[in-house]
């Protein structure tokens, strides 16, 4: 079970695709203007990631090494098409507001990266779990960034939740305060870059504090007996 714990820790914190690997920055920065969009894209990416990790892990023994990347990309593209059609069918509003970034999940480096680095070398169960944890880590970064940008720019949280979850979810929208003029910077891409920078800095601060708290393990000093004469 320790191995699974390790995978979870890697995906959520130590090797977080958003904060540490800085993969998939394009959707990360482009769609996080609201929490709803961020959650929608995060969930879609997570679904594709789990699916592609499972399929790649299943076919890993048949795939010739030389052409593995095109095959992985085709698997991912097929899955993205499925997800895109599903979102189109069941959450049309969200489909419209995510726009081109939904099909662009194909090019998200997190997915091909995990297929190449993890799923093509590990068992199906582990790969599925890794896909879930990496997707969750990505989703969490998206959600935090989306929520903070939405609060700063419009003073609301979960605006348009009904696009994602159905009509009942409009009660989830929270109006924190009313702004006469929205803070455009938080809504625009530069604000996403600045917010992302703050998130990474915050994570580094936490890591540093944790490292200070845990005492360094005593590494025995390697000493070597001198066999040549000094002078």
């Amino acid at each position: 079970m320790n191995e699974y714990k390790q995978i979870a820790l890697q995906g959520l914190w130590k090797n977080n695709p958003g904060l540490v690997q800085l993969l998939g920055l394009c959707p990360l920065l482009a769609v996080t203007a609201t929490l709803t969009n961020a959650l929608g894209l995060g969930l879609a990416t997570m679904a594709v990631l789990i699916g592609s990790n499972i399929l790649v892990s299943l076919v890993k023994t048949f795939v010739p090494k030389e052409i593995r990347i095109p095959i992985f990309v085709m698997i991912i593209a097929a899955l993205v098409t499925c997800v895109q059609l599903l979102v189109n069918a069941y959450a049309y509003g969200l489909y419209q507001s995510l726009g081109i970034f939904l099909p662009l999940i194909v090019t998200n480096c997190v997915i091909i990266g995990r297929a190449e680095a993890f799923a093509s070398r590990n068992s199906v169960l582990k790969s599925a779990f890794d896909g879930f944890m990496m997707g969750l880590g990505f989703l969490l970064v998206l959600a935090v960034l989306g929520a903070s940008r939405e609060i700063l720019s419009q003073g609301t949280l979960f605006e348009g939740a009904d696009l994602l979850l159905g009509d009942w979810a409009s009660v989830l929208t929270i109006h924190l305060w009313h702004l006469d003029t929205s803070f455009l910077l938080a809504m625009l891409p530069p604000g996403a870059f600045i917010g992302m920078g703050f998130l990474i800095a915050f994570k580094n601060v936490i890591d540093k504090k944790l490292a200070e708290r845990t005492p360094e393990p005593d590494v025995p000093e390697v000493t070597r007996a001198r066999i040549t004469k000094v002078s």
Partner: protein
């Protein structure tokens, strides 16, 4: 007898950072006073508010960064940043505008990059650009000069507008009550008129241009020019950057005016409108973010002038100095790399 042995440089200058900054602030005061005379108490209120916020936030960040608080506060750099930002924004803008701008300038642009001397962008201008793209409506409604309004706003009215009427609709109502309190700046007016098909001569016949320049703006620019010349005399700044900016703007504007006088404003209008003199002498010459060699400074100034002319003529924003200076700041390390002066005793590279 013991000789004192010191390492180079052996010729020390008496000017310290705090003195330089203090002199820049003092030289800007005539311009600030002229601006107050033409645009009312709002200018002064914004500047005071900006300085208060700047000093407080600087102290807070220094404390967080575990740096000496009072020593760094005394270098007057936060004071200068706040002053420049305070006179750059519309005088009757709501109070939170300047607070957000100054916080961004000091905390993000200056201290997140490592404090004074490490920042790659001019803090005041980066704060201004942040405000301009975040709050375009508030940032572009400039106050009309006092002479053109039927009933100028007094001190109490300015305070009320800035601190109480935070919502935009209230300000609109207030403006109507005072018969057109807000109006476009001369640069904005001529740009709108030209885009509507009027010629520049027709545009210049409006009330806001009484003598070929915008009302008030000519004297504001003259006051900053005078302050800038005093700074040159005191050797606070060198002449290269201001001359580069003004010469390049003059050449570009003359070329445009000679090619087609109907659709371009003249070179003198460009030199004495908007923030030209303020930016050329006080903002572009920031020692931290500008180029450092002689040729590099001329090129840096020339680049700013060219960019200002392009953005003023073809861009969407009324005045262009903030964007031009930020873009030139980006180029400054590159300029410095290729404009290294020849060291004594070595041949030049080519």
């Amino acid at each position: 007898m013991a000789f004192k042995i010191a390492s180079s440089p052996h010729l020390s200058r008496s000017l310290q950072t705090s003195t330089v900054m203090q002199r820049v602030v003092l030289c800007a005061l005539p311009g600030v006073a002229t601006q107050c005379y033409f645009f009312g108490w709002g200018v002064l209120i914004q500047v005071i508010l900006a300085i208060t916020v700047a000093l407080l936030s600087e102290a807070l960040v220094l404390k967080l960064r575990k740096r000496p608080v009072t020593d760094t506060l005394k270098d007057n750099s936060a004071l200068l940043t706040a002053l420049l930002l305070g006179i750059a924004i519309p005088p009757l803008a709501p109070w939170w505008l300047i607070v957000i701008g100054v916080l961004f300038s000091i905390v993000v642009v200056k201290h997140l990059y490592g404090g004074l001397g490490q920042n790659i962008f001019n803090p005041a201008m980066a704060g201004y650009v942040m405000l301009l793209i975040s709050f375009p409506v508030q940032m572009t409604s400039w106050v009309a000069p006092m002479m053109l309004t039927s009933q100028p706003v007094d001190l109490l009215g300015s305070l009320q507008l800035i601190f109480l009427n935070t919502s935009l609709s209230d300000i609109e109502a207030y403006k109507l009550g005072f018969d057109g309190l807000a109006m476009a700046t001369p640069l904005d007016t001529i740009k709108t008129d030209l885009s509507m098909g009027l010629t520049s001569i027709e545009s210049f016949s409006r009330a806001i241009f009484n003598d070929g320049f915008g009302v008030g703006w000519f004297w504001v620019n003259m006051a900053y020019l005078a302050g800038g010349l005093v700074m040159l005399k005191l050797k606070v700044i060198r002449w290269h950057i201001p001359v580069g900016v003004l010469a390049s703007l003059f050449v570009c504007a003359s070329a445009g005016y000679l090619l087609n006088p109907d659709t371009h404003a003249g070179p003198l209008f460009h030199l004495f409108s908007g923030a030209t003199m303020l930016a050329a002498f006080f903002i572009a010459t920031d020692p931290v973010t500008a180029a450092t060699s002689v040729r590099g400074r001329l090129l840096f100034g020339g680049l700013i002038g060219l960019l200002v002319y392009i953005i003023r003529t073809y861009g969407g924003y009324p005045d262009a100095f903030a964007f031009a200076i930020l873009l030139a700041n980006l180029c400054a390390p590159f300029i410095d790399h290729y404009m290294k002066p020849r060291t004594y005793g070595h041949r030049s590279r080519n």
